[in-house]
């Protein structure tokens, strides 16, 4: 019988040819999106190391001792292999692998996009209009009491920063978190889609309080009497010993503040920064501003400018 069918050899060759593989893929429902949504979501989570056993990230305790912080890149080859491995579960012949190969690039492409949406999807948040095309995953892993003791600890990463005239760090370009998760009471994992130059750990701003640093000193703040002196900002972002005013206590060891002496110490520094008001004295309200203790912040910088000293924790 004459048949309108390709011969066996032709058939195989046709199946293996690129266009046919494409058609084959089309016939397997890959037409609408490269991946079915659930699979795409799962694979992009996997690319964000969701589900990866922790011991495969930190095989030994020595690599993440107590009170340590590790910054890292995520090697895209490694995640790519991870995805490949996940997809290869169903690959039982060269036909299957050819099929996967033919779509693999597109899979990678769409994963790079959907990785950025995982967190928003989890939060049922609005999806962004544009996605980061130059994705390079990096992150930090912190094992510290900071994680267990400050449940509301904020970690923010920025693409860049500048130092303003008051020596304050001015962050530029906040980087969206791809993943931020506490993996244990004292272990925190954060992943970012770009390489940050500035990471700031912020104590949660939970309320207004009066207070001083544990060494009993404080850096005075501007009170808004002059232009370029916004209320509440420290007179300098990089205080030297002479920029710190001591909160003087009365004698008797009862920890009672010696208001006058303290006031004098403050005025001394404030005057040096030309921050006093027209009255020339520190009003009770001004005094109150000076004694406000704001939340603390620790910045980690990797830019060329390393001032202020990154080892110091500051209020902010």
């Amino acid at each position: 019988m004459k048949k309108n069918l390709p011969g066996a050899g032709q058939y195989i060759a046709a199946l293996k040819g690129t266009t046919q593989v494409k058609q084959l893929r089309l016939s397997l429902n890959f037409r609408e999106s490269v991946l079915p949504p659930a699979l795409e979501n799962w694979l992009s989570s996997l690319s964000l190391l969701y589900g990866v056993p922790f011991e495969h990230l930190v095989p030994n305790a020595g690599m993440l001792p107590l009170e340590s912080l590790r910054f890292f890149y995520v090697d895209p080859n490694w995640t790519s292999c991870l995805v490949d491995g996940a997809l290869s579960v169903g690959a039982q012949s060269s036909r299957d692998t050819a099929l996967i190969q033919s779509v693999y690039e597109e899979v990678q492409h769409s994963l790079r996009a959907s990785m950025q949406l995982v967190r928003r999807r989890l939060a049922h948040a609005e999806l962004p209009e544009a996605l980061n095309t130059g994705l390079a995953v990096s992150g930090l892993l912190m094992r510290s009491q900071l994680v267990s003791g400050w449940p509301g600890l904020e970690i923010a990463a920025y693409e860049d920063y500048t130092i303003d005239s008051h020596q304050n760090i001015v962050p530029v370009g906040k980087i969206e978190n791809l993943r931020i998760q506490r993996l244990a009471p004292d272990v925190m994992l954060c992943l970012y889609g770009r390489m940050p130059k500035l990471v700031q750990l912020n104590e949660p701003k939970e309320g207004l309080a009066f207070g001083v640093r544990s060494d009993g000193k404080l850096v005075p703040r501007f009170m808004g009497y002059h232009t370029d002196q916004p209320v509440g900002t420290f007179v300098t972002g990089n205080p030297k010993p002479e920029d710190e005013a001591e909160v003087v206590r009365r004698s008797g060891g009862k920890n009672v503040i010696d208001v006058a002496a303290t006031k004098a110490a403050l005025v001394k520094v404030l005057n040096r920064y030309n921050a006093m008001g027209p009255s020339g004295t520190l009003s009770p309200a001004d005094f109150g501003i000076q004694l406000i203790k704001s939340a603390e912040q620790q910045s980690f910088l990797s830019g060329a400018e390393t001032q202020p000293n990154p080892n110091d924790c500051t209020d902010y």
């Binding site: 019988m1 004459k2 048949k3 309108n4 069918l5 390709p6 011969g7 066996a8 050899g9 058939y11 195989i12 199946l15 293996k16 016939s27 190391l49 969701y50 589900g51 990866v52 056993p53 922790f54 011991e55 495969h56 930190v58 095989p59 030994n60 305790a61 020595g62 993440l64 290869s88 579960v89 169903g90 690959a91 039982q92 012949s93 060269s94 036909r95 299957d96 692998t97 094992r143 998760q181 993996l183 244990a184 272990v187």
Partner: protein, 1209 residues
């Protein structure tokens, strides 16, 4: 009509009504000039019966002609021509044996009565065989009486034999040449031989003996209704029936007949009265111009209107080829249309558009090229609960197996007995035939040889007889044993279980080629007389429902009824009252009012009654009324409305009963003659000029050869069966309507061709190729006749010049093709378009096209007799050789192979799914080695012999043979790549409910034990010529090794990877040439089998979700599929181990991520020493939760998944 009412003594005047059954009457007008046409007016040569000569005449002899005059023929109602199955036999009803013919002409009439059952060797009208004679005895049948001289039943004898069938002639009642004065009447027109006069004939038929009447046998209304239904007759719905009874009662009253209303037989007809008429027969005198109904063509007509012949394997193939041809002429896509028709016919319309559907369609088409013949029944126990683990008690199973063996043996014996009966009959026939030579030997045989032949024949007969009776005895014994075993197996069967039987693999015989003739103008005379009514039943009337007058509607005049009393009926000369049915007069009146020749007289009578002057134009008004009832469109309207509208008083009959004359044409026979060019001289070389091409499913002609050699002329004729071969016509119309697709095809079928297709197979060709002749009637003496059974239909053709062709392989050219009708008229579609057979190019259907020669039709190799290809699964453990048919519990699986594509390994499992070990490649790339690793966790010493590890002998043989090879690594690599290559074409569609697991474990392939063999039905056929008598010379065709391809890449459902033969030395794959074959382990040797060989064991490697196609080429594709439960069970047991590592884990608590979607049990197997193992059954779910450990280790081992399928259900 004054005779006393009650007259039971006279069989024709009884107290009940008759059923008036319409018959289709046609009249052939033959003038002297008509005799110049070709005629196939052939008389049966019954005087050759019993003389070893042909009784059936050749259709092409063109010798006899019908007489000049008018030949009248009526088609018996289908209810009388159709047989009914009664037990083993088909019984045919008797046919009416008395016929009254009245010819009306010039206001006069002439009448005759036919005594159709008249038998007399001296003065009967036609040669016939004495119905009750022990040996064929010639007599003559049929007699005509001038009606007035008819002596009545008392004066003649009534014979009980006349049926629609004649001796050796199924078309007896349809073909006029042998039934003059029986079911046909030749009117020589001697009284008006030179006049041109329109004439009208009335025909009435009845049974001389009430007991022969098919309506006779009832006592209640229900019985009567059942009789009517079985005869395909109706009077309409219940209201119509009531009206018919009322009409009859009124008639009876008017005719002084007393009716007992409590007697069903007095109310409902127990007598059949056939009646029909043909009016305005255009008799032009003996020298008139010829009037022929044979289709006429002119070569200048448009191509698509010209008649054409298509030859194909099936009717649908022929139609498809014709359609493709005709549409291609018009520049349309004929091939697509042809494929659509085929898909429609095989109900694959949706399927063939899917992937692989086309292959499925081709497989179906190919299958339809073969006829089926019943095979043995086998028995099995069916459990309604469909348990997953069917169980049959061992004792019962043993009985079942024995039952099936005996049933198979009985069938084998039966076919052998039929062969032995043929031998016996053939030898008896030859002995008898040799006696007709009177000592002078036939051509080509010397006197000495002749003596030996005759002696051998005589001596062979006792042995033949003995063999037949031995086989009969054996089967009688088997019958008893089988019946006993059936009882035994049934005994104590649980209530949910039932012993059922099913037919085994049927025998197949290639179809005789089918010829389709387009433009031969098919007719509806035979077998379709119910076509004017809804449910294919023929509308009949009761006595008293005939037309008694006409409500004449003349322009501007009131309606004027004209009754029979108002007109002068032509006098009819009839025998004495009581010798013809009491309805005769009423039917004459009825026919008078339908005959438009009487229109002027009826109009005249109306004018007289209306007292207005006659106008010649009034005759046209009346004639229009008379024919209004036959207007085709009104057939779906209520009959009474039609009657009222047309003005007839009474009930109008089915249109069948009233025919306006036209020159008749009703195709009845297709006669053919071919020049046969066999492709071989010696049967053993039948395949020499052919190449097996499994992708074409069969053989293709080797184009290095030309079709040459001497041809053999073979001829035959087939009765054209009336039923349309194309049942899909209505469906197709709906498809066109719904989709609007293929407008050209629709146009061609419905408008251009109007479905004017006659299809008929060239039946008998296969037998003629075996040198067997169907045209004789001989009867052996009782001692032989009692043994030969039905094997007397075919007699040998012993001439030395005639060969037999046990393998049908070659080409033929159509030499003659005639369509012959009831009257012997001939339509020749080749000469009708002005062509000669030698150059004629028929349209040739798929599979029959001869490369480079459109004049020839190709018949690729087939076994001419019935044969089958058996492909059965055998028990995989090798302990028995019972097939799955003999023993339903047969598990053909030898083991499972699970290729690991990524790691280049092959895991082996027991049939029930337990891991045995793994074949794996080790070493460096430059020097790979194949290694057998026992299953992890098995404490088997390293290097333990395979016997201890792999219990299945076949699976072991596979592993051992592979390991034993010097190039085992290369061979293994080839095996893996051929598996991988083949899996490209296997679509994982077979949706067994293990898809989830198969994602994890891959696609386990089953190693399946099967057996293949060819069987002939009965013994091999042999040469029939004189010299080979009793020697059974087969020519060696049973030794030909026919190749068989296993697996088919074009079918995505096919799961065949390849196969091993018993030696397991090489692996065979269709794709062998696609890979590097240097190792020699992969070959492509088709299984080759001859009919003589016993079954060959073949070990298939298959994807259990797929089918196995086995393509024998000479027979239809065999499809087999693994029993689902076996596969499911193994899959559910299957433990899969994944070589895993390195895994970073806490040594005290192994943990790793495990799939959440997957149920089943996971465990971890690891070496604790060289041959010692431990299996950790608890694996902690590892996840991203931070666990900071100090003593984590890297581990290598095997992750094992067990019981996955069971738990996931």
């Amino acid at each position: 009509m004054a005779k006393a009412a009650k007259n039971t003594a006279d069989p024709l005047l009884w107290n009940g009504p008759s059923l008036l059954v319409p018959v289709d009457v046609e009249a052939l007008v033959v003038s002297k000039l008509s005799l110049n046409y070709p005629w196939a007016y052939n008389r049966m040569k019954y005087n050759n019966a019993g003389k070893f000569e042909n009784v059936r005449p050749s259709m092409f002899q063109d010798a006899d002609r019908p007489g000049v005059g008018i030949t009248l023929h009526w088609a018996l109602p289908d209810g009388i021509t159709h047989g009914r199955q009664e037990g083993e036999q088909i019984r045919y009803p008797y046919a009416p044996n008395r016929w009254l013919i009245i010819r009306y002409y010039e206001g006069k009439s002439k009448s005759w009565i036919l005594q159709s059952d008249y038998l007399d060797p001296k003065d009967g009208a036609n040669l016939f065989l004495k119905p009750d004679a022990a040996t064929p005895t010639v007599t003559r049948i049929g007699k005509v009486w001038p009606a007035a001289q008819w002596p009545g039943e008392a004066g003649v004898s009534q014979q009980q034999f006349l049926m629609a069938l004649g001796p050796g002639n199924p078309a007896f009642a349809a073909y006029t040449a042998n039934i003059n004065n029986v079911f046909s009447f030749y009117d020589d027109m001697s009284d008006i031989v030179d006049k041109a006069v329109p004439v009208t004939y009335t025909v009435m038929g009845w049974y001389g003996n009430a007991a022969d009447d098919p309506l006779n046998n009832f006592t209640t209304l229900d019985e009567w209704l059942a009789l009517m239904d079985s005869l395909l007759w109706t009077v309409g719905d219940n209201n119509d029936l009531q009206k018919a009874v009322n009409d009859w009662l009124a008639w009876a009253k008017a005719n002084n007949i007393t009716v007992n209303p409590d007697q069903a037989r007095d109310l409902y007809p127990s007598r059949t009265l056939c009646q029909g008429m043909v009016y305005k027969v255009n008799w032009l005198g003996q020298n008139g111009v010829p009037q022929s109904g044979v289709p006429q063509y002119d070569p200048s007509m448009p191509a698509e209107k010209q008649p054409r012949i298509a030859v194909a394997n099936t009717a649908i193939d022929a139609l498809a080829a014709l359609v493709a041809f005709e549409l291609d002429i018009e520049g349309q896509n004929g091939e697509a249309a042809a494929e659509l028709l085929e898909a429609f016919n095989y109900n694959l319309l949706t399927k063939y558009q899917e992937q692989g559907g086309q292959y499925q369609l081709y497989r179906e088409i190919f299958k339809a090229w073969f006829g089926n013949h019943d095979a043995e029944y086998y028995y099995y126990i069916d459990d309604k609960d469909k348990p997953e683990d069917p169980f049959i008690k061992p004792e019962r199973l043993a009985d079942l197996v024995s039952l099936n063996r005996k049933a198979a043996e009985r069938d084998l014996n039966l076919h052998l007995m039929q062969s032995a009966q043929s031998d016996l009959y053939g030898n008896w026939w030859k002995t008898g035939k040799s006696g007709t030579y009177w000592g002078k030997p036939p051509a080509g045989i010397s006197a000495a040889e002749w003596k030996v032949i005759q002696d051998n024949l005589k001596n062979a007969i006792p042995g033949n007889k003995q063999l037949v009776s031995d086989l009969q005895d054996a089967n009688r014994k088997l019958d008893t044993e089988i019946a006993a075993l059936i009882e035994k197996v049934k005994e104590g069967l649980p209530s949910t279980e039932e012993l059922k039987e099913n037919m085994g693999n049927r025998y197949h015989q290639a179809n005789d080629p089918v010829v389709l003739i387009y433009g031969a103008h098919r007719a509806y005379r035979h077998g379709e007389d119910g076509r004017f009514d809804d449910d294919d039943h023929l509308f009949t009337r009761f006595t008293g429902q005939t037309i008694t007058g006409l409500q004449v509607m003349l322009p501007n005049q009131p309606v004027q009824p004209v009754m029979s009393d108002n007109v002068t009926l032509p006098p009819v000369s009839l025998p004495a009252y009581g010798l013809v049915p009491k309805e005769t007069n009423s039917i004459c009146i009825d026919n008078y009012f339908f005959d438009t020749s009487n229109a002027p007289a009826i109009a005249q009578a109306a004018c007289n009654l209306l007292k207005i002057p006659y106008d010649a134009a009034y005759a046209n008004n009346v004639a229009a009324q008379q024919t209004a009832a036959w207007n085709a469109d009104i057939y779906n309207i209520d009959r009474q409305l039609v009657t009222d509208a047309s003005g007839f008083i009474g009930t109008i009959p089915s249109k069948v009963a009233v025919q306006l004359w036209a020159a008749p044409w009703a195709p009845l026979y297709m006669a053919w003659e071919i020049n046969w060019f066999p492709s071989y001289d010696e049967p053993s070389k039948a395949l020499e000029k052919w190449q097996f091409d499994a992708e074409a499913l069969e053989y293709v002609w080797d184009e290095r050869y030309n079709v040459t050699g001497n041809s053999v002329t073979i001829s035959g004729s087939s009765l054209i069966t009336p039923n349309s071969a194309f049942v899909m016509q209505a469906q197709l119309e709906k498809y066109f309507e719904d989709t609007g697709k293929f407008p050209d095809l629709r146009e061609f079928l419905n408008t251009v061709s109007q479905w004017d297709f006659l299809t008929q197979s060239m039946s008998g060709l296969n037998e003629l190729l075996l040198a067997l002749n169907p045209d004789q009637l001989n009867q052996a003496p009782a001692d032989v006749n009692s043994l030969v059974g039905d094997m007397t239909q075919l007699s040998p053709v012993p001439d030395m010049s005639v060969k037999n062709y046990p393998v049908r392989a070659g080409h033929f050219q159509l030499n003659k093709l005639w369509v012959v009708d009831d009257f012997g008229q001939v339509f020749d579609p080749i000469s009708a378009v002005g062509q000669q057979p030698a150059g004629y190019k028929p349209v040739v259907g798929t599979g029959m096209v001869t490369p480079n020669n459109p004049n020839l039709v190709q018949l690729p190799p087939r076994v001419t007799q019935n044969a089958r290809f058996e492909f059965n699964f055998l028990s995989g453990d090798g302990k028995t050789n019972d097939s799955g048919q003999i023993n339903q519990m047969t598990d053909p699986i030898c083991g499972w192979l699970l290729p690991n594509h990524l790691d280049k390994g092959l895991s082996l499992y027991t049939p029930d799914g337990h891991l045995l070990g793994e074949l794996i490649l080790t070493g460096t790339f430059s020097r790979m080695q194949l290694r057998w690793d026992n299953a992890p966790g098995k404490n088997v010493p390293v290097g333990a012999p395979l016997e201890e590890v792999i219990p299945n002998p076949y699976l072991r043989s596979f592993v051992a043979n592979l390991l034993a090879r010097e190039d085992s690594a290369a061979a293994f690599g080839s095996l893996l790549s051929i598996i991988d290559e083949t899996l490209w074409t296997v679509e994982p569609l077979g949706g067994r409910n293990n898809e989830l697991i198969s994602v994890f474990i891959g696609r386990p392939l089953a190693l399946v034990r099967s057996a293949m063999n060819y069987n002939l039905m009965g013994a091999p056929v042999y040469s029939q010529n004189w010299k080979d008598s009793t020697l059974k010379v087969t020519g060696g065709y049973e030794d030909i090794a026919f190749p068989v391809q296993t697996g088919c890449l074009q079918d995505p459902q096919d799961g065949t990877i390849g196969y091993f033969l018993e030696d397991f030395l090489t692996f065979n794959s269709i794709l062998a040439d696609k890979i590097d074959k240097t190792s020699g382990y992969i070959t492509n040797e088709p299984v080759a089998l001859s009919f003589k060989e016993p079954a060959k064991e073949v070990f298939l490697l298959v994807d259990p979700r797929g089918d196995v196609n086995v393509i024998p080429g000479i027979l239809p594709v065999q499809l087999n599929v693994l029993p689902g439960t076996l596969v499911e069970n193994a899959m559910s047991n299957m433990n899969v181990t994944f070589r895993t590592g390195p895994l970073i884990t806490d040594p005290d608590q192994l943990s790793m991520p495990l799939p959440s979607e997957m149920s089943g049990k996971w465990s971890w197997i690891q070496h604790t020493g060289v041959t010692t193992w431990e299996e950790l059954t608890t694996i902690a779910q590892a996840n991203e939760k931070a666990r900071i450990g100090v003593g984590y280790e890297l581990k290598d081992g095997w992750l094992k998944l067990s019981n996955a399928l069971n738990d996931s259900k």
